[in-house]
Structure formats: C-alpha cells, structure tokens
C-alpha cells in the first residue's frame, strides 16, 4: 500500500525513537516540576516557571543554537559529559532527543500542573490522618488523581517532539540514519526536484502518528476520568 523506501523507514523509526525517549525522560522531571509549581512556594518560583516556558516563545533556532553552545562537543556541559560520562549529544540521535525534550517540555508540564492543582487537598489531608507520609500521599493519592493530566501532557509532548524541526536541525543537523527525523526528511525532500511523492508519504505518516496519539490519549483520559468519579 505505502511503498516506503528504506531511507523513509529510517527517518520514521528514528523520529519515533527520539520522541519516545524524549517523552519518557521528560515525564518524571515534568511531574516533579509541575508538583513544585502547583504545591510549593519557594524563592525563584516565577523564574523557574519562565525558564521552562522559554522554548515556547524563543525562536526554535535560538534554542537549538543555545543547545549547541551548551551541549556541543566544546560546550561547557557537553565537553564535561563527553569526558566524564562518555555521553555525546552533538550530531547524535541523543541530541535530537534532548532538543525535542526541551522544546516539548512546556507543553508536557502544563496539563500535569493543572491536574495536580485540581486534586482536592482535603483528600490528601484525609490520607495523612490515615498514616500516609508526604511521599506516600503523592504516590497513592495525588499522582493517581492527576493521571489524566499526566497522560494528556505526555501525548502533547510526544506530538510536539515528533513535529520538532528548528531546534533539532540547528543542534544536531540533518544526518540520515542518525539525526534525520520525519520533519527534516520532509524538509530535505522539498529541496530536491522529484521529492514530492516521498514528501507526501511522510506527511501522511506524520498525520497518522499524530492522530493515533490523540486517540490513545482520549481513550486513556476517559478511563481515568471514570475512575476519578468513583464509577
């Protein structure tokens, strides 16, 4: 049906790998930050809120360039990570995952934060009178009740990561098989004379992935909402 070339398959699988890894690593960090923003007052809270929202308002190429300066081979963090831990981001798929994770982070955090704010604190109090310490309250009451928001955040983040282009191409370039995601593959195909058919195939694939993610989130959210109403 869809006659995909191996280069196209490579781009699709790479995009999925990059986005899944970016979402899975960003989610626990996002939950922690969302909880802090929703439930704690601390010095520098508005600064933290502003910093995680920066990728949303900065031009993606700026974020990508800042990543290159920081996590590139000669970047402050990048050099240290390469020398001490052997982790290299520059021009690797891991760098694409980092760029996608950072670009999608505000979209991931926001629904989680809203759903944690919506959790009834009186239930958390009831849990504490039943012997649950703060950590147990979080795992047994707050997080399960915030689950629809967590899933919504993960789907939004994943969709953003799949579509990410500007920061990724600036940071890790457009190397087939290593950093060429669906978006950069489509971009490349639009630059060559007879790339239209292949570009359209990839466009179809990315629409299908986005739709599948939305449907999955809808199904999860509906199940979770039923649970929350105790039915």
């Amino acid at each position: 049906m869809l006659d995909l070339s191996s280069a196209e398959w490579t781009a699709i699988l790479l995009s999925i790998r990059v986005s899944v890894v970016a979402t899975l690593i960003a989610t626990p960090i996002g939950i922690a930050i969302a909880w802090l923003l929703a439930r704690r007052d601390f010095w520098g809270k508005s600064a933290l809120d502003a910093i995680i929202h920066l990728p949303l308002v900065l031009p993606p190429v700026v974020t990508g360039y800042l990543l290159l300066l920081t996590f590139g081979r000669r970047g402050l963090v990048g050099a240290w990570l390469a020398d001490h831990l052997g982790i290299v981001f520059a021009f690797r798929w891991t760098g694409a995952a980092l760029a996608c994770g950072i670009m999608s982070f505000p979209l991931l955090v926001r629904p989680i934060r809203l759903s944690i704010e919506a959790v009834d604190r009186r239930l958390e109090q009831a849990a504490s009178t039943l012997g649950a310490g703060p950590w147990s309250v979080f795992w047994t009451v707050t997080l399960p009740l915030a689950l629809p928001g967590v899933l919504a955040g993960m789907v939004l983040g994943f969709a953003k990561a799949i579509g990410e282009f500007g920061a990724t191409i600036t940071f890790v370039s457009n190397i087939p098989g290593e950093t060429q995601t669906i978006s950069s593959a489509i971009y490349t195909l639009t630059q060559v004379p007879d790339g239209d058919a292949a570009a359209l195939r990839l466009v179809g694939i990315s629409i299908a992935i986005a739709m599948a993610a939305l449907v999955a989130s809808e199904v999860f959210a509906r199940r979770a909402t039923r649970r929350l109403h105790g039915i």
Binding site: Q125, A126, T129, L130, G133, S136, L145
Partner: protein
C-alpha cells in the same frame, strides 16, 4: 487522657482553649464559627497551634515551647470528616484497607470482620465510591478510620451532611462504636441530641473559648441559651 491547651489566631478569630478530658466520647458542642473544626484540626496535626500543648496520656504531640510538632501521619489519630473524603480512585475495600497499608500493619482479618459487621458494610465492599449513598459513604469513612487502628478518633459533624432519616440510620452505629471498641472519641456537632445519645463529657465552645465543660446534662441550658 487527652490534654489540650492551645492558642491559635486565624484572621480575626482567636482560639484559646484548655481542656483535660478522660471521656470515652468527648462532645465538642457549639454553633458554627465557634472554632470546633479548627480545634479538631489542631488535635489531628493538620493545623499547628501558635502556642500550647496537645498530649494523649504521656505522649506529647505538640509542644510549641519545645518546637515539637508530630505530623498527622505519625499521630495515629483517626479523623472522620463531614464530607467523608473517600478516595474516588479506590473501591470500598481499598479505601478500608488504606490506613492498614500506610501504617504497614499486618492484615488482620478479625479486625476487618469486626468493623465490617459493626458497620454493616459487607454488601458494599465491591462498590466504587460513586455508587454509595451519603449514609453509606459515612459508614465507610468510619470503617476506614477504625481499621487504621487509631488511639483516638475525631469525628467532625459526621452526620452534618445527612437528612434526618439518614442520621437516624447512622446514630446506632456510632453508639455501637462507642460501646464495642475501646477507641476514645472526640465528637464535634451543633446538634445537642447527638451528644445526649453519645457523649460522656461535653465541651461547649463559644467564639473560640470554652464556655462550659461537664457531663451531657450541661447541654440542657447551654443548648437553650445558644439556640442551636
């Protein structure tokens, strides 16, 4: 013995209370705004007193002069709220079992059976909380608090959200609770009839102060005077 000597400022309202009670059921009586719920929240550890001491027997839970505050989850004080506060993501059995899990107590089938029989909730165990009536919710909340094996049980207007018929349905269970479990209780209400049925001692609160303290018979003139 429960010892309460606390001062707490809450906006314009000030609570200044000193009570020692040996009662099996200590009734906290007063009109709304008298400070009953604030006092119970202080006993539970949900609210910290500005100054004062809370102690059960020799066990001090709050002592502001020593900067001591035991957090709620380490107090082993059960709390039944007016609005039940059952966990909506758990079914009835899981709600009942929550305190045992959190306190890492061994599963005690005898205690479980006793509480289920006492409250008559055997037919509700598989329900989701959304499928319960108001009276049923309150019975589950009672059972959930009891199964955490508290050394003191706080009940903040547990019948307040129920109509007269439902109240009549639950009151006998509370009487059985008093007579069949050894757990001392602090029972908050603005309904003198509930306290006449349940309380062994009564504290009348008015605008954050103890106005009277004694046996349930003090309700006869206080209730008339407070018009509740």
């Amino acid at each position: 013995m429960l010892r309460i000597e606390v001062i707490k400022q809450l906006g314009d309202f000030s609570l200044d209370v000193a009570i020692r009670t040996e009662g099996r059921v200590t009734g906290l009586f007063g009109s709304s705004g008298a400070g009953k719920t604030s006092l119970v929240n202080i006993i539970a550890g949900l609210l910290r007193p500005d100054r004062g001491i809370i102690a059960i027997g020799d066990d001090v839970l709050d002592d502001t002069s020593l900067n001591l505050h035991i957090p709620p989850h380490r107090r082993r004080i059960g709390y039944v709220f007016q609005d039940a506060r059952l966990f909506p993501h758990l079914n009835v059995t899981q709600n009942l079992d929550y305190g045992r899990r959190m306190n890492r107590l061994a599963y005690d089938s005898a205690a479980q059976k006793h509480v289920v029989d006492l409250l008559d909730i055997g037919n509700l165990l598989d329900r989701r909380t959304g499928q319960l009536s108001g009276g049923e919710r309150q019975r589950i909340a009672l059972g959930r608090a009891l199964l955490a094996k508290p050394r003191l049980l706080l009940l903040d207007e547990p019948l307040g959200a129920l109509d007269a018929d439902r109240k009549a349905e639950i009151l006998p269970y509370l009487v059985r609770l008093r007579d069949e479990t050894g757990v001392p209780m602090v029972y908050v209400t603005h309904d003198p009839d509930e306290l006449r049925r349940l309380a062994t001692e009564v504290v009348v609160l008015e605008r954050g102060r103890v106005q009277r303290f004694g046996g349930p018979d003090i309700l006869n003139d206080s209730a008339a005077r407070l018009r509740v």
